[in-house]
């Protein structure tokens, strides 16, 4: 693309310019990405290559030992407790994705459609839904920790006011509800962003198209499934892919609300939290770092997310229609 542009410009230039000057210009343009590439290489490419190499060595605490090939990967999937902890965390990530897709994105789609229909106060709702996104996720975590506090938190107090004492719970202390509570908080946080993307998707559908469809007798579900959804596929693809990546990297909110141990009793463990514990030995004081295993997990996570994202993109692309 760059060369194409320069060629176009070069043609428009007065003929007085010499050929060498033009050549130099054409060549010089390739220098501009260098600062960005250096930063990219140093902070992104180098760490991942480092993680790849780390994962192939035996680590004694912080000291690198012998080259062990794929032993760390083998340990991760065959030795206890690593094996169980991995699959346990993996399942939680899947649940994270599924619930976010249904609750966050499903709700966002409906809300975007309602706002599109120009109900009264549409602008207000758009902003209101986006508000949580403006807060730091750490702040969100702490706020919801207070709301969900079993003894003085707002949720239990409200339940009590309505005479629903039997529904009161230690939401974040009970392994049955802790993870779900976190995912729902995350959905609340991400809702506004999804609404905006969906809204942009609907608004980009040309009015004539919808009018034409209406004239042809499409309405209700038919309108939705045959016209609106297919034309919104690009937006749906983006949201799905982003949600997928975010779900499999879930860390900050879990860390802010439950710490790095996946408490209680591994019920809120995610792969990223587990990685943090493996690589840095956790935060509870003590515990050796297992850098080799941690790096192996990071590599697995990286490969899984990139491959799966590619597959997801491939299939969702097929469903997109050209306008």
């Amino acid at each position: 693309m760059n060369t194409a542009e320069t060629q176009v410009k070069a043609v428009n230039k007065p003929a007085a310019k010499t050929k060498t000057k033009r050549k130099w210009k054409r060549w010089a343009i390739h220098l501009f990405p260098i600062p960005a590439l250096i930063i990219y290489g140093l902070f992104i490419v180098y760490p991942i290559l480092a993680a790849f190499t780390y994962s192939l060595f035996d680590w004694n605490g912080l000291v690198r030992g012998a080259f062990v090939g794929l032993e760390n990967f083998k340990a991760l999937f065959s030795l206890q407790p690593y094996k169980d902890l991995f699959w346990n965390a993996f399942q939680h990530n899947i649940l994270y994705f599924v619930v976010q897709m249904i609750v966050q994105n499903g709700l966002a789609f409906v809300l975007a459609f309602i706002i599109y229909k120009k109900i009264k106060g549409a602008e207000f709702f758009k902003i209101a839904f986006f508000m949580p996104r403006l807060l730091s996720i750490i702040v969100v975590g702490f706020l919801w920790k207070l709301i969900l506090n079993p003894n003085f938190g707002a949720l239990n107090v409200i339940l009590g006011k309505f005479g629903l004492e039997n529904l009161q719970k230690a939401w974040l202390g009970d392994p049955d509800t802790a993870l779900m509570a976190i995912i729902l908080v995350n959905s609340w946080f991400g809702l506004g962003f999804a609404v905006l993307i969906f809204l942009a998707g609907i608004q980009s559908i040309p009015h004539e198209l919808i009018e034409a469809a209406t004239l042809d007798g499409a309405k209700g579900w038919k309108m939705m499934s045959k016209i609106i959804i297919p034309l919104m596929m690009p937006a749906i693809t983006i949201i799905t892919v982003l949600t997928f990546i975010q779900s499999f990297e879930a860390f900050e909110l879990v860390y802010a609300m439950q710490g790095s141990q996946g408490e209680p009793y591994h019920s809120t463990d995610t792969l990223a939290i587990y990685f943090y514990r493996l690589a840095f030995g956790g935060t509870s004081g003590g515990g050796s770092s297992a850098i080799g295993l941690g790096s192996a997990l990071a590599v697995v996570l990286f490969l899984f997310i990139s491959v799966f994202t590619a597959i997801l993109l491939y299939f969702m692309r097929k469903k997109e229609v050209e306008m």
Binding site: F43, I44, Y46, P47, I48, A50, A51, Y54, N60, G61, L62, V63, L148, N149, P150, N151, K169, A170, W171, L172, G173, D174, P234, V241, L242, I245, Q246, E249, Q261, E263, P264, Y265, H266, Y276, R277, L278, A279, F280, G281, G282, T283, S284, G285, G286, G287, S288, S289, A290, I291, L293, S295, A298, V299, L301, F302, I305, S306, T309, L313, R317
Partner: protein, 430 residues
Amino acid sequence: MAKITKAWMIGLLAFILILTGCSSDTDGSVEGETENNEENGDTVTLEVGSWRTEDTAKYEKLFEAFNEKHPDIQLEFKPSKNTEYNTILNTALQSGEGPDIMQLRPYAAGAELADAGYLEPIEDLEGLDTFPDSSLMAAQGSDGTQYGVPLNMSTTQMFYNKKIFDELGLEEPQTYEEFIELNETFKSEGYTPLAMGTKEGWLMSLMHGIVGPAHYGANEFVEQIENGETDFVSDEYVASIEAMEQLKDYFPDNSEGLGMEDIRTLFFTEQAAMFPLGSWEIEVLKEMNPDLELDFFPMPSAVGKEPTITTWVDGSYAINANSEHKEEAKKFLEWMTTEEFGQMFTEEFSMVSAVPGVESDNQLVSDLAQAADEISTPYLILVHFAKGNPSSKAELETELQGMYLGEQTPEGVAEAVQKSAEGYYEPFQN
């Protein structure tokens, strides 16, 4: 065309997002960078790293006192957040940076840094012999070489609210049965007997550190563990886990959802009578409720031994092997072994100094220091078993949590700890 760019954008985004997860091992080094090597004339400035951000003003006072003795050495306190300290320090040290003098986590975590060669050995440091071996042990490499000077002792014990005890006409318990009776009395009088919650794992091992020795037989058992004569699946140890389960009856409502802040609040608002926690809470409690009448009692034994309080060295200071001013740093560490330092530390920090025999004008701290000298038992799971990944300490915490949630049995807890310890603890490997 537009489509291809979008695919690339998403791919790039995926790449960036995941890499933020993997790259944490390099970006910490920026924070650890030292810029303190400017020498003005003959003055040397040493950077001191620590996890005690809240103690900055107190440390500055200590450093001033040191500066009066050594006008050519300036000290600069540069703490980082408690929970991030290990990560920041490790990454800084890995890249050859880091503070000149650093606060060392005790036992296994400190030994890890020593074994990696990041610390300067101080075997011949003047004044080290002030400390008993049990304290020195906290700052040694796994080969027994000394790397750090112990700073303070932490103790855990049962704190109690004297006002509530007096109101109900109760005394400190002399036997474990009396302790249980106390709990029953508080419960029937409408007080929460024990301010404790099970949401945060570290509170579990901490409480077991207080209650456990009363059941496994304190120091005798510790000695047997050290000699490999007994293990964690022994009846004594299982009994100590069962005792923890029994105490759940005396926890506050919804204890599975309560963390540190919650239980502290219950205690200083005088809704709970007893608070099994550490010496570092004294200052906080005093600040939150100056009228709180705070006292402590040692845990009476259930198996006919002496009552105990649980102690360990909480932190020590060591020298960065890469420091350009090791000699100056050694002068500071030498000063840390003196009674003068111990006295000043105790007064400023209201903590028990690791220098033996230092008295405090704070009665409670003084009593704790005395108890630590006379009836202490080590915090077993931290002193010897904070190793492995997950560490045996973390295993104990998680499994105790599981037990309180009804998903694990006391025997199961003991087995998990034993299994984890067998991975590295030599006395268990024969």
